[in-house]
């Protein structure tokens, strides 16, 4: 089975901190994605990457950056955390081809105080 592992299930940080969310996949997938999930808003794409050191902006990239130094690992960075970034963050991986499923981790619930 595909496994997408997010390093933390729950995280509490303070306003202004630099926050790192880590994600690792074990299926040698080319593509990796970061979404945030908010009640009533569904999932929204923040950033994705289709190769090492490559990144593409999603729908809501403001306030975030990403890093992909190795194929299996994709990090989401909140440069200066703000309270409106309190959310559930979901990482996903998938093959290069569009009609293949994206596999999700179980999420990191991030609270910014």
């Amino acid at each position: 089975d595909v496994k997408v592992t997010q390093s933390s299930r729950y995280l509490v940080k303070r306003t202004g901190e630099k926050v790192f969310l880590e994600c690792v996949q074990d299926m040698d997938h080319e593509n990796m994605f970061w979404y945030r999930q908010d009640p009533g808003l569904g999932l929204r794409l923040i950033y994705f990457s289709y190769d090492v050191k490559m990144k593409e902006k999603g729908d809501i990239p403001e306030g975030y950056s990403v890093s992909r130094e190795k194929k299996e690992r994709f990090s989401l960075i909140l440069e200066s955390a703000s309270t409106n970034q309190t959310s559930m963050y979901l990482c996903a991986s998938g093959s290069y081809f569009q009609n293949q499923p994206q596999h999700f981790g179980d999420g990191t619930r991030l609270s910014i105080l």
Binding site: V4, E30, N31, F33, Y35, G40, L41, G42, L43, R44, L45, F48, Y50, E56, G58, D59, L90, A92, G94, S95, Y96, F97, Q98, N99, Q100, P101, Q102, H103, F104, G105, D106, G107
Partner: protein
């Protein structure tokens, strides 16, 4: 990426009944339409997906109906069971600029409750 509109927000169905969730999209470049199922505390998991060259796809009790001209697609769950109680998301994607997969655009979700 443009919006995918999903309805209803919540749905209560009796055990054994048919659950129907609808989605509509605007971006005609979308050509892959998956449905995801999410249980509390878990990430979404792919349930079933369809390409626009077919009008219907069935896997067990789950069926996607697709109407390309209306830019609408729907999920039908036949013989709904209490274990189907979950949040369901429709999604859509287009081929990315590099020729591979692009990110998914999700609907806002439907909270489905199947009453025993």
């Amino acid at each position: 990426q443009q919006q995918v509109k999903q309805s209803p927000q919540s749905l209560i169905v009796q055990k054994g009944g048919i659950s129907i969730i609808n989605c509509a999209y605007e971006n005609t470049a979308f050509d892959y339409f998956p449905w995801y199922q999410q249980f509390p505390g878990k990430g979404p998991a792919l349930l079933i997906a369809i390409r626009p060259d077919v009008s219907e796809k069935k896997e067990g009790r789950f069926t996607i109906s697709f109407n390309k001209s209306a830019k609408q697609f729907s999920l039908h769950i036949m013989d709904s069971q209490p274990g189907d109680s979950a949040t369901y998301f429709c999604a859509a994607s287009a081929v990315g600029s590099g020729g591979g997969a692009d990110g998914l655009t999700f609907g806002k979700g439907t909270h489905l409750i199947i009453q025993p």
